[in-house]
């Protein structure tokens, strides 16, 4: 009994004066400091890294954008989307077709890709968002496959062999063609994605997504139009994927339908769930784990996917809320 009392009083003390790392992190200034340090490291990495390292890190930033985009749909609004690669495909093919077939400037294709991916978000979201989550997952799974199969069979998308010869973008006459250029491009994209996610999360719209995720009926009783709110999440998530797709096409200069398989959607979802749904730092860590893990264990060959799966299972068993801790008070 005495022990019990002591622990509770200690707990209370801990609450009033949050110590340790998490307490230190609570201060806005300290958080900003950490962010600046991390940004500086990210900016300076190309000075010490070889091309192989840069390629992988570029891939990390690319997945950070995709995972943050899907996080809006899955993490904030709580809608299970198993076909997210479709939006990424819409962006990539828009840029690919417009630059290689019609000679449109790369930068002009971005707003068009944003429109197309937003429209595809509406087309798939409009009729299906009235469904409860399990059904939605199946419909999005089907949608993802439909987009891939269309890309595989249309002439304009280059069929199964895909598109080649996509123009490399240039900015003020400076051609982006080295891996280090794309490293910075995707780093900037990832920073923008993180910034936009943060602002949205802490806004009226971001709160509305969380209300709908937590309790749809209560949210509706509070005057929130749940279908409209979900559609917003879907469309904004689709735009993230579309923009990432544009730059992906420009970096690879070639795209094929096989890039946008179901497995791709699952990988992105994995990044979100692994890191912690709805938590921006968590999702970024998830994207890192997703890309880095298979690379670090490249030596053990085909076993690495098995190890990856086991690690994933362990994390999910012991930290079902993801790697990043949940807030409590």
């Amino acid at each position: 009994m005495v022990n019990l009392l002591q622990t509770t009083s200690m707990d209370k003390g801990g609450q009033e004066n949050p110590g340790g790392l998490s307490g230190w992190l609570q201060h806005q200034k300290n958080r900003l400091f950490i962010l600046l340090v991390l940004a500086a490291i990210a900016l300076l990495v190309p000075l010490i890294s070889n091309n192989y390292g840069l390629e992988i890190l570029t891939n990390v930033w690319f997945y950070v954008v995709l995972c943050l985009g899907l996080n809006i749909v899955v993490g904030y609004a709580g809608l299970l989307d198993l076909g997210y690669a479709a939006f990424f495909a819409v962006g990539a093919y828009t840029t690919g077709i417009l630059t290689s077939e019609f000679g449109v400037n790369f930068w002009l294709t971005i707003p068009i890709a944003v429109c197309f991916s937003a429209c595809s978000g509406c087309i798939i979201g409009g009729p299906t968002l009235r469904l409860r989550s399990d059904y939605l997952a199946i419909v999005t799974l089907g949608f993802g496959e439909i987009v891939r199969i269309i890309a595989r069979n249309l002439e304009i998308t280059g069929g199964a062999s895909g598109l080649i010869g996509i123009e490399r973008p240039s900015i003020f006459g400076f051609q982006l063609d080295q891996i280090v250029h794309f490293y910075y491009v995707f780093l900037i994209l990832a920073i923008i994605a993180g910034f936009v996610s943060y602002r949205l999360q802490h806004s009226r719209m971001g709160r509305a997504w969380q209300y709908v995720r937590e309790d749809e009926d209560a949210a509706e009783a509070m005057g929130i139009n749940r279908v409209a709110v979900k559609l917003y999440a879907y469309v904004i998530g689709a735009i993230f994927g579309g923009v990432a797709g544009c730059f992906f096409a420009a970096k690879m200069t070639a795209i094929s339908p096989e890039t946008f398989m179901f497995q791709q959607s699952v990988m992105i979802l994995l990044g979100v769930v692994l890191g912690g749904m709805g938590k921006i730092p968590g999702v970024i860590i998830g994207a890192f784990a997703l890309v880095l893990f298979p690379e670090v264990f490249r030596d053990i060959g085909s076993m690495r996917m098995l190890v990856f799966a086991v690690v994933m299972l362990i994390i999910m068993l012991y930290r079902p809320e993801g790697i990043w801790p949940a807030k409590k008070s």
């Binding site: 949205l200 009226r204 719209m205 709160r207 949210a219 929130i224």
Partner: protein
Amino acid sequence: MALLEVKNLFLRFGGLHVIKDLSFTVEEGSIASLIGPNGAGKTSVFNCLTGFYKPTDGTIIFAQRDITRKKPHKITQHGMARTFQNLRLFKSMSVLENVMSGMHCRSSAGPIGSILRTSSQQAEEASITRFCEQCLDFVGILDEKDRIASNLSYGHQRRVEWARALATQPKILLFDEPAAGLNYDEKQQLIQLIKRIRDELGITILLIEHDMGLVMKVSERITVIDYGQKIAQGNAEEVQNNQKVIEAYLGKEEDEAA
């Protein structure tokens, strides 16, 4: 003048008649109650009023507008707020964020304004926060605004729900068994609060309650239903002496009134 008017309401689930030909009115600025034994259909009436159930027949006129079979969020925007019988808080969010949900339909910032943090969006966020803090202050839990809702005591979680309903700036507030699970002191505070909501904020109140003591103390007009039908209407004294009501409760009333 009647703020809420229910006319010949019917609700059927297949062969089950939950509400049969129910009519009643709630005057503007009054505290009204809807009572009845377990399973009488009280919560179903609430769900029809707030749009969660679509009544089979009948009309509901609220503030000069027909709200029958309208969507719940439209009805809330029109000025009807509700609380739930079993708590329905957004559990993993902070108390303040919970209350902010009520202001959603009274504000308008979209995603672009939020990303750019325009001055109008910032001003709106500030006014949302200010108003929600006032709501929390009104129900007496402003101190707990930054805590996660599910970590609060049960009584305080109930207060979060009340504050959240107040934040929608309603004309009428529907309480679904607000005293359930509260102790004696908390019930007394609830009675005070209900009176204050009506007197200070001018919000009309409709109450469903099991606790007869509480109902008799606060309500100015009581509608009694049983098996989905109205069996009596009047003030506390009239209802208490009504033969039909005594039969419907059959001794139960004595337990609860004690």
